[in-house]
Symmetry: C2
Subunit: 626 residues, 2 copies
């Protein structure tokens, strides 16, 4: 029985009927899904009808923090946002940290389920028990920073926390983000879903404390976790002081920092222009999410014209997407692009990668200045890159072609351009060339959200961490098993609880499952063994898989862009490496087998039953797949 | 004796010695100067040595709210910022409203005097009695909106109020502003003084209440004021719903809306492009200063590319400076320019007027694209206008030429350009062509701050209000007397107490003196007759005059740009009108005589003595002027 951590209530707001209801957070939900992505995907599976238009009233948007969020657990400030993705048609999951998720707990809720579609722009105002739907007609069109300030001013409370969309979400860009404070739930077009519901923002102010079941046990579990963090060789001082941008140098060192839309990985050295030491020259401070001792988010200030004075916090993935991918070596232009994306509410990875895609087409002559409204889209043209961003958001000229990511852009452009669109399931790739880190490739191919670095990040290949066992990053053998482990453990210890992924990658992978179990017992009184925690992750991956199958995805969607299967890396530390078709197929087969999925990637009846997923069994039965 | 309204303490922070001291707010100071500009100019006169470099450590920066600030007096949210202006070399006075001034009172202070110069960037943090000087090295270079958020985050209190400078102030632009919330103390380069002291911001949080001497008397005085406001024909609903931008139409109607650097007043109709009805299409809301029932500040959102989504609150003066003056008829570009100025901390009037000056030079061929780094500076080119703003702030290329306002730009350019620089004492003109409103001309010429609409605004010429008596806007006779009245009453009822100027202009001019006296008695127990209140204004104008004389200004600085004396208006409702030299001289002579100043503009010993300004007498004696 739940005795802490959880607030006991799930808030449901229907924007069509204006009904606001509250329901109990059930024990079964907690034991099987923990919170966060677990809650989100469970509700999504159960409540969003098959074939629902992601941008229609039937789709739902679920905000769910975890049991530790708002307690003194370090690095647990986060929440999962779950929806059917308009970008992929699959499960759309995006997490964010900062302060909004904590405030939602303080207001008394373990999740917020947003349903239906408002007639006119609105925002939801949650003040403890009082929940209302307010007009956002005046806010429509404002950028995310202004929106947050305007709502605080309107409600006359500067301590309100707000998650909102910018013009990108309003204009239904399928790569639109949701922004809270300076943080982004960036990927899979969650912002477009919010926009499709005419929902500009959710504002929250809470005054409750998150109860803790056993103060003593919590103190102990927390101390173990803090010690593991302190003992980490990466977390302090390096990661705390440099944050994710330090990964640029590391990935260059491994020969897998993608450049020029993955066409020149290993050939173009970014270290001297946008590497860690250059990033350091732009640093003016750092930001901590609630309760985080690390504070990895690095505030950067652009120092050269025409970007001088622009403030943002570009993460590694943004250095990759607006730097390496576009061939841009001007760090200040990346800081600027990051800021524009945050203000307009656009995912930096997908936006940069989509522009990089257009740049490759331009370089190859597949498109010309006639297509681009005169913009010279050669790799490296940061002015063109930044000029494109608002045009994408406002769907102006060539910007409209790129507005919904690379897959749809390729469809709009035609002319054989699709092979240069670097995505899986429509989701643009993150910044690790899988040719030199092959578990990454398998993870991109099989993640239920598309090419995602956050659903099963193979940190073993990046940091040489031998957990659960040592791996060779160029090998494909054994990567199926590894990927299952990574996906399940990541889901169980990060996406559901909801804990920061960097902990898993850099601090406590060896104790991640135990740590989660101990904290859960201490905070909520719910006792799961570490194995049972891992099973939560497996359950989630299977449920998400069946959701995707139900929505029409098949084995054919577990692919990698052809480039990785046919073009060996030409230079750098991973020179010569690629993933031949047969190697990819072998990895995929191993993965399916490890998961107890059919050769076509369909979960077995036994596996689903063992995970208690009777609904999923019924779904596959109905589809004639079991 | 003071028994309310005032907090009793003046805070003094020396950035050189790091000394923080507090002194009593004396009865004499209150009775003679009330607060705000009164306090500021008194301290400036007494404490800043003759010949002090405005951007040197000897200059001081004085923030002073008034006795009603923080009480329930409507429209009293304001404070005066006083310094020796780097733009004019004269008294620099700029007022701002919003919430910062109130918070300074809540913290317990009637004024903040900033002295000296920090070695490295700092900000001052005032938390009730606790006052500290903190490093702002990380904040240096950030824009004013980011600065405010970063300080709130650093101090972990979202309710802090902050006044700060942007890059313009840091870079010592002589037209740099100080920004608090979305409000600006824009004029006379007060931001550069702050920058010269390496002072990025002042952050305040207060928890005290402002005491009121007699609740009953206050209730009564307040009711009288609120009724006068309610009875105003202009204040509600028009001004409340449209704010100052509605003045565009009115000024066009009077034929005095300046266009193309005053070279085409009356010739270019702005109503259909940037007039009130167009402004209304961009309105998304309005903002209230603390305790203000009017809320005249209109939030505007740009709706067309490339400005789409930009939020700001352009006032009439900004519509004039970035609209009429530059010949720009694109309202969204004005909203954008306003935002950029607020973010970078630049005065919109001076910035727009300085660009307009450059445009006239360009049109006349005095400068060419070779001078402007290729920018086409024809009137109406809003893209060039907006491109110039950051270049001015960062002193890049031709931007460096314009960075310090039109007078210095003319010196830098030479080539006979000075005659097109529309300023008095270095301060760019506001948006009323004095050829069709001649008291405005006299006020511009004689205001101790330069061409300022806020030191003696002749509302009688604009709104046809017959207070203190009816006037003909084209006449010059009687304007000396009117200007003295306007300057003294404005100082006494707005700048010192510190009340919103719009009250005087549009709501309560007939009862302004009485209203001030009544509120003062009720709030603080200090009893002054309405005549004595007016004398406070006269005292201030005389003290400021002697300060300016001491700093080297003479009758020769009481001028108007030659254009107004030689070029009749060619079109519009004021067609044919101008101010011939002899008319101007007659107005000036009448003004000096009304003030009991010599024909050279030097206050008489008797006048100064009658105002209790013995220091001023001593100053003039020492200079051999008495």
């Amino acid at each position: 029985m739940i005795q802490g951590g959880y607030m006991g209530q799930i808030l449901r707001v229907n924007l069509t009927t204006k009904q606001i209801t509250k329901e109990e957070t059930s024990d079964a939900l907690v034991r099987n899904y923990l919170g966060g992505a677990g809650f989100g995907i469970k509700f999504l599976f159960d409540e969003v009808p098959q074939g629902a238009d992601p941008l229609g009233a039937e789709n739902k948007l679920i905000f769910a923090p975890g049991p530790f969020t708002g307690t003194k657990t370090p690095c647990a400030s986060r929440m999962a946002i779950t929806t059917k993705s308009p970008l992929t048609g699959a499960v759309g999951l995006s997490l964010t940290g900062g302060y909004f998720p904590v405030e939602l707990k303080f207001a008394g809720y373990d999740a917020l389920i947003i349903e239906g579609k408002a007639e006119k722009p609105v925002y939801i105002w949650i003040h403890d028990d009082k929940v209302s739907i307010r007009s956002a007609e005046g806010l429509w069109g404002t950028n995310t920073f202004d929106t947050q300030q305007l709502i605080k001013d309107e409600l006359n409370d500067q301590n309100i926390r707000i998650a909102c969309i910018g013009p990108a979400g309003e204009n239904l860009s399928k790569i639109a983000a949701i922004i809270n404070e300076r943080r982004a739930a960036g990927r899979k077009g969650v912002g477009a879903v919010m926009g499709s519901k005419n929902l500009k923002a959710v504002a929250v102010r809470g005054s409750r404390q998150v109860p803790v079941y056993s103060d003593e046990a919590f103190k102990e579990a927390r101390a173990v976790m803090l010690k593991a963090m302190k003992d980490s060789e990466v977390l302090y001082p390096a990661f705390s002081q440099m944050g994710t941008p330090m990964v640029v140098d590391a990935m260059w060192g491994l020969g897998i920092f993608p450049t020029n839309n993955f066409s020149a990985t290993g050939e173009w050295d970014p270290v001297d222009s946008i590497g860690a030491s250059v990033s350091a020259t732009r640093k003016i401070g750092r930001e901590h999410c609630y309760g985080c001792p690390v504070g990895c988010s690095q505030l950067k200030l652009a120092r050269t014209a025409p970007y001088t004075g622009t403030l943002s916090e570009p993460e590694y993935e943004t250095m990759y997407s607006f730097g390496g991918m576009t061939g841009v070596d001007n760090i200040d232009s990346i800081i600027y692009a990051d800021r524009i994306c945050d203000e307009l509410g656009l995912d930096t990875i997908s936006a940069g990668a989509t522009i990089a895609f257009a740049m490759e087409l331009y370089e190859r002559g597949i498109i010309t200045a006639k297509d681009t409204d005169g913009l010279n889209l050669n790799f490296g043209n940061h002015e063109a890159m930044n000029a494109l961003l608002p045009r994408m958001v406002y769907r102006e000229g060539f910007g409209a072609v790129l507005a919904d990511g690379s897959r749809i852009a390729a469809e709009r452009i035609g002319r054989g351009s699709a092979k240069y669109a670097m995505h899986v399931k429509g989701l643009e790739l993150p910044g690790y060339d899988p040719r030199g880190a092959k578990a990454h490739g398998l993870s991109y191919a099989t993640s239920y959200t598309g090419a995602d670095h956050n659903r099963g990040y193979a940190f073993q290949e990046i940091f040489s961490v031998p957990i659960p066992y040592p791996v060779d990053r160029f090998a494909t053998n054994g990567k199926g098993k590894l990927t299952k482990w990574n996906q399940d453990v990541r889901a169980a210890t990060c996406d559901c609880p909801t804990m920061c992924a960097f902990l898993m990658d850099m601090a406590v992978p060896s104790i991640a499952l135990e740590n989660t179990a101990n904290l859960l017992a201490a905070v909520s009184g719910v006792t799961l063994t570490p194995e049972e925690v891992q099973t939560v992750g497996e359950r989630l991956n299977n449920l998400a898989r069946v959701f995707n199958i139900r929505e029409g995805l098949t084995k054919n969607d577990d692919y990698l862009p052809q480039r990785f299967l046919t073009e060996p890396l030409k230079e750098g530390s991973s020179k010569g490496s690629y993933i031949p078709q047969e190697e990819f197929e072998a990895m995929l087969a191993e993965y399916y087998a490890e998961r107890d999925w059919s050769p076509e990637g369909v979960p077995s009846r036994e596996k689903l039953a063992s995970l208690g997923l009777d609904n999923a069994v019924a779904t596959l039965e109905k589809m004639g797949l079991l």
